[in-house]
């Protein structure tokens, strides 16, 4: 009997260990949200709203200060340890309503948030687009799908510094904007993620490029089709051994999205986002430059024609890829990002030098790169304290991270 108990316990443990929990649920506001009744804020109002705020109520959860920053689709509020809000804002008369949800990027914590700016506490200033009222955002936050019932008050401290406003710093998000393993509501390396990532504060992205067996370039990180990144389907094994027709028809990413071709993803960046930097991380090792460089050229030409300020660089993570690039005619005019030594950067005439962050800030080498007219971007840096250290002590032009809202906080709060 005792043995039977142990066997049953083992079976229960094994089966319960197989649960697939891939997303932290995004709390829904409900059908009676006031946001549907509001009017969009004009661009001037959005600019007035941006800045550094003091958390005068709710600081036990969200810290002493936050930054408030508009992006293409929403308002982001971020603190220094991964807690961030994705909010919508609109006005009714002179009252500004701000609603959405918050999420802790380093855990599963999330909840609804409902706030407002009254007429007397900045609403009039914001709606008119000018004035000197001090902005106070009042409201409440909740946990899970529960109603917001914990006080949250943000008081405007100052605008972003001129150093921040004039800088061309790139907040680069990993895997087209975020990792699937961080349990985001959209899959990594998808067009949906490219559309989502600006809500997290990103101003650029890294994407992983592979080739199908019939040499179509597409976005995917791992070498194999697996249930960590894809919905379970009839295909398995090495992804590069399948044709694009097979992948397109029978593989869906973990949240149901299709795997995008590189060209469709870059077209989306140009047409539908305000992203300023795309790093093509070359995961393919089978003479991929011959496929990827023509796509890069077409996209850059298109961005130029549309007046878009966009950098698209092919990554050089290894000497094999460097040799592949250098076998390409006119390789010195191809915008590239080299992860190798500064000598390799010069050999390939790379636009960007991108050392691993664990090598340190290397300010002397970064300075050399700047003097040669190149950029320097380090990867992949995730710890809040290291992000703070590299932004404040380093000279890099951007950091690649899985937590762009943390990087955004430490960038925008700079004096």
């Amino acid at each position: 009997m005792k043995i039977l108990f142990y066997i049953l316990t083992a079976i229960v443990l094994l089966l319960s260990g197989c649960n697939k929990d891939t997303v932290v649920p995004v709390p829904l506001e409900g059908a009676n949200s006031i946001m549907k009744e509001t009017h969009p804020l004009p661009p001037a109002s959005k600019l007035l709203m941006e800045g550094v705020y003091q958390v005068t109520s709710g600081s036990s959860e969200f810290g002493e200060t936050v930054i408030v920053k508009w992006n293409r689709t929403s308002l982001m509020i971020a603190n220094n340890n991964g807690k961030h809000f994705i909010m919508q804002a609109g006005h009714l008369d002179s009252v500004v309503f701000v609603q959405g949800y918050w999420r802790d990027g380093y855990s599963d914590a999330t909840g609804l948030c409902s706030m407002y700016i009254s007429k007397a506490e900045g609403g009039t200033t914001l709606v008119s687009g000018n004035g000197t009222q001090k902005i106070i955002i009042r409201g409440a936050y909740g946990f899970g799908s529960g109603l917001p019932d914990n006080n949250l008050v943000l008081e405007y401290l100052r605008p972003f510094s001129s150093k921040v406003k004039n800088s061309n710093f790139y907040i680069l998000a990993h895997r087209a904007g975020g990792r699937t393993s961080d349990r985001l509501p959209v899959s990594e390396n998808s067009i949906e993620m490219i559309n989502f990532t600006e809500k997290l504060g990103s101003t650029g992205i890294e994407v992983d490029v592979r080739l199908s067996s019939d040499r179509v370039a597409f976005l995917y990180h791992d070498p194999d089709i697996n249930i960590r990144l894809t919905q379970k389907g009839p295909l398995a094994g090495a992804i590069s051994e399948y044709s694009w027709a097979e992948l397109s028809a029978f593989v869906r990413l973990i949240h149901g999205e299709k795997i995008p071709t590189l060209e469709s993803a870059l077209n989306f960046v140009v047409d539908s986002t305000q992203l300023r930097f795309v790093y093509l991380d070359m995961k393919a090792d089978n003479d991929a430059m011959a496929v990827v460089i023509p796509i890069q050229k077409r996209i850059l030409q298109r961005a130029h024609d549309l007046g878009r300020d966009l950098i698209v660089v092919v990554g050089i993570p290894s000497t094999a890829v460097l040799n592949d690039l250098m076998s390409y005619p006119d390789y010195q005019n191809i915008p590239s990002l080299c992860e190798l030594t500064t000598d390799d950067v010069r050999s390939a005439n790379s636009l960007v030098w991108s050392p691993r962050w664990t090598l340190g800030t290397q300010n002397d080498l970064v300075q050399q790169m700047h003097e040669e007219g190149r950029l320097a971007i380090t990867w992949t840096i995730d710890s809040p304290s290291w992000i703070e250290n590299y932004i404040n002590e380093g000279l890099f032009d951007g950091l690649l991270t899985n937590f762009p809202y943390v990087e955004a906080y430490y960038h925008y709060i700079r004096e």
Binding site: Q231, G233, L235, E241, A249
Partner: protein
């Protein structure tokens, strides 16, 4: 001197007693047995595909091969392998391009088997599995292999002894192949030779 001699003599006597007690019994007995078993029968793939499973065939015939060391205890230790087809999917790419996908698996499990009562056994095991995925489009086929490192199996069996060496019976078995979270169960007829 006398004491020393006496002491050495006592030690030698004790050693000789111990040595005699280890002498082989004159009657030969088998305290260990081994068995080799083959099985075949119906298998069913538990369809947990989330995509591309509109036309899926889940029932096939599988074979298994087991080797067990059976000491005179309730527990036996052994290895099991086999060949199982998990599913076949037939679909179309576009309107008229026929696509087929097959998944087969060859597990290699380290098994522990326990005799519950006479002729009834429960077994559990874990081990490796080689998963082969074969697809064909327009009659052009290719295969990809992948290893699954975390797999387990549970089985219950009944083996009736027809003679001193021969046993036959049935087995119900459940497999999980961890890397792709594939589940399969089946009922096999089993024949074992014990030696």
């Amino acid at each position: 001197m006398g004491k020393k001699t006496t002491g050495i003599a006592m030690v030698l006597i004790l050693i000789s007693f111990a040595g005699f007690s280890q002498r082989a019994d004159s009657i030969k007995t088998h305290l260990n047995h081994y068995s080799l078993a083959v099985g075949t029968g119906w298998t069913h793939y538990y369809n947990n595909l989330e995509y591309g499973d509109q036309n899926i065939k889940q029932d096939f015939v599988g074979i298994s091969l087991k080797f067990f060391w059976e000491p005179e205890y309730r527990l036996s230790l052994g290895l099991e392998t086999g060949y199982y087809k998990l599913f076949k999917v037939t679909d179309h790419i576009g309107t008229d391009t026929v696509f087929e996908a097959h998944r087969t698996v060859v597990p290699l499990m380290l098994m522990v088997r326990m005799r519950l009562v006479d002729n009834f056994y429960l077994s559990a095991g874990m081990g490796l599995a080689l998963i082969n995925n074969k697809t064909s489009v327009l009659s052009v086929a290719h295969s990809t292999q992948t290893w699954s490192l975390s797999n387990y199996e549970f089985a219950g069996s009944y083996l009736y002894p027809f003679s001193r060496h021969l046993q036959a019976g049935g087995e119900v078995k459940l497999y999980n192949f961890g890397s792709l979270n594939d589940w399969m169960y089946g009922i096999h007829l089993t024949c074992a030779y014990r030696f």
